[in-house]
Symmetry: C2
Subunit: 428 residues, 2 copies
């Protein structure tokens, strides 16, 4: 390697702009810390902030041409998207013998394994610290800091948009729709928010986290994914009354039945550390046989934190740190049995919107009894004959298959006027 | 390097025993993760748990002889103490061209700089992840994960014994002495607890953390250190009433006046993330220009977590990861101006035990006025003529020099029957 690590950045949106800014602003300390300069020599983008100082790097209209430039050591891919130009840039950079740094979780969740294999073959690095939990150096922590542990569970709040919405709902008592609208106005949620609020973004991150934590290949299709659209102010209020907060958690767990990977809203006890992670913050909890538990919290998105993560990968490369992309060489990643979601067992929170009529409770109780689902408590506050009221049921441990049959039957009751809302109670 | 990293462990107490157990129990995954075996080839100790399986490694009665063995690549020092045999083992290992891994915060706080210089000269590694915050990989996070940031403040709960005592006092309303006794019975506090409760242990860790965070030489003598002996149940109760928890914090901060390094009890707002770090848990908060804030939480001591940290250093060495001990080469560490504690400015909590007599408040108020210390609130609950009652004063921002003059004058008042208790209010 020359006295400088020569960097080409493709994509100059929020994160790309942040990386350019960071490399300029911290050039002196980065050189001290790495023992060589981190030099931005080339950029390529469709558009960029006009305030960005791009006087030094060469400009490429064609991102693929940038990846072929022999004067570049590392390509940074910040274009986004699992396919198309982002994937082509990644593949081409590696094929041209350059290390690749990316913040692209969709790309890594879909094609990370093939890219890591290609990088190993080419003898270059593939790094994606920024793809999971933004500014929190969680992949490095799992691969290096906690390398002496067998991990049993890794879970966290991986989507700041959802956490912001749930926190605001909790603090203000407002509706999902109202808070979402506000989040969009504030730039915390996209115009089309489905990628975040349906759990897809968290799923991409969890798939990567699972592979790194358990040494298995990334398998996005193995995940059970639910979002937060169904959560109402009523649920938030009842959860609080029972001593819980509602969080969208992403959970990877080694069970006797294999690995569970699931993203869904959870009731978490108010005294669990993760219950206090509010607003746009992310957090990851790692549980292992020697550390017991370690918790990592910070900004999961945004220009500065994501740029910090991208640059930490560049620093590793400049320092000659070589750790396999997923913690193990691709050939050593082992397929593990997948635990079927239908076999999952936990306590459940169920909300039914029912017509307040005599006999409703008996019908509900009979369905639960027939499916052998044991009731911990049932609450129906107040009386409002013939009006719609919420009935909240907390179950003891029950199987997912049974509770789904229960919900189907609830849905068919004439007195139940909305689809039931099911939230799992997570023991943390 | 051979196909195995050959390890010699000196000291087989709690942590040493944990390291031996970990290396045995996780041999398979460590080999996978490092691409070579981590082989325990030699041990030396004065005594050890008879249950420890020591059938494989060679035994050395003399730890110094172990450090000279040509069949060893890395020496692990887990003897403890800043001087004597621990220091001799560290120096000898490095002089013999072996990397050194240690969990010894006193050694590193006192002699880390000289040892790092010696290691650089010898071309070997000096690693001490376990010396700060046990199982939390905080040094790696600061040196590598957050390497793109200029940090402005790093603070945390670095002593689990103090945090356990303060948490128990808060939850039970009991006295310091009572809870300390219980902590000793449970093994959370030593028979002679002064090292922990006087803040010395936290000071050692903070001195190391400061160097890594700000790129300056370790300077243990630059720290202002106070312990928790003076905290009473009254203080815990009033703090809670005002919306605060009391925590022993270790704080390193870049100010306009230079670097502040201080360990002392603090009032922290109940909604600050660190206020929820309870019991024996440790936590470190890092604030930087790109990440904003990242929080790391976990077990700061104990066999498993400390062994996990020691082995993470061994994994780094086995993988060929070479990062300077303090984040920068010793020659690049820069002396920075030290901010004098007397120039520190903050809000203060002051508790006076006074005889309930007419005119007391006027005397107190006059002293504060004469030192230009502005009062935010004064509370004296209830009346008990001629008995001793607590008076709690919360000040606005004031200088340390002024508040100390105030306390001196308070002490001289006839109605003040105990030394005043001063706790700083930390803005987090």
């Amino acid at each position: 390697m020359s006295a400088a690590l020569r960097i080409g950045v493709t994509g100059l949106g929020t994160v790309g702009g942040g990386v350019v800014k960071l490399l300029g602003q911290q050039a002196d300390i980065l050189e001290q810390r790495c023992g060589c300069r981190l030099e931005l020599v080339a950029v390529s983008a469709l558009e960029h902030d006009p305030d960005l100082d791009l006087s030094a790097p060469r400009w490429f209209d064609d991102a693929l041409a940038l990846t072929a430039d022999p004067e570049i050591d590392v390509v940074v891919e910040l274009i986004g998207g699992a396919e198309g130009i982002a994937k082509a840039v990644a593949e081409s950079a590696i094929a041209n013998g350059k290390s690749l740094v990316t913040a692209n979780k969709a790309l890594i969740a879909r094609h990370g394994l093939a890219l890591a294999q290609a990088a190993e073959t080419a003898g270059v690095q593939l790094c994606f610290e920024a793809a999971v939990a933004g500014g929190i150096p969680i992949l490095k922590a799992l691969k290096e800091g906690l390398a002496g542990n067998r991990l049993s569970r890794v879970y966290g709040i991986l989507n700041g948009t959802c956490n912001y919405i749930l926190t605001e709902m909790q603090e203000s008592g407002r509706s999902f729709a109202g808070v979402l609208q506000e989040a969009q106005a504030l730039g915390y949620a996209e115009a089309d928010p489905s990628f975040d609020i349906d759990g897809v973004d968290a799923a991409h991150k969890l798939a990567i986290l699972t592979s790194v934590a358990f040494g298995c290949p990334v398998d996005l299709d193995a995940l059970h994914v639910e979002g937060i659209r169904e959560i109402t102010a009523i649920d938030i209020a009842y959860a609080a009354e029972f001593g819980y907060a509602i969080k969208l958690l992403a959970i990877a767990e080694l069970t006797e039945r294999g690995i569970e990977q699931r993203v869904h809203p959870c009731l978490v006890a108010r005294n669990a550390p993760i219950a206090h992670v509010d607003g746009v913050f992310n957090a990851v909890v790692a549980e292992g046989d020697f550390i017991d538990q370690a918790i990592f919290e910070g900004h999961g998105a945004g220009r500065g934190p994501t740029a910090s993560a991208v640059v930490s990968d560049l620093v590793d490369i400049a320092r000659g740190i070589r750790v396999p992309s997923f913690g193990l060489p691709v050939a050593a990643l082992q397929e593990q049995p997948l635990a079927a979601m239908l076999d999952h067992v936990c306590e459940y929170y169920v909300r039914l919107m029912v017509l307040d009529q005599p006999g409703v409770m008996a019908e509900i109780a009979a369905i639960l009894r027939d499916e052998s689902v044991s009731i911990e408590s049932v609450v129906q506050r107040g009386r409002a004959p013939d009006e719609v009221v919420p009935v909240i049921i907390i179950t003891h441990d029950a199987g997912e298959a049974a509770i789904r049959r229960v919900l189907d039957q609830f849905s068919q009751l004439e007195v139940v006027v909305e689809p039931p809302c099911l939230i799992r109670i997570e023991t943390l």
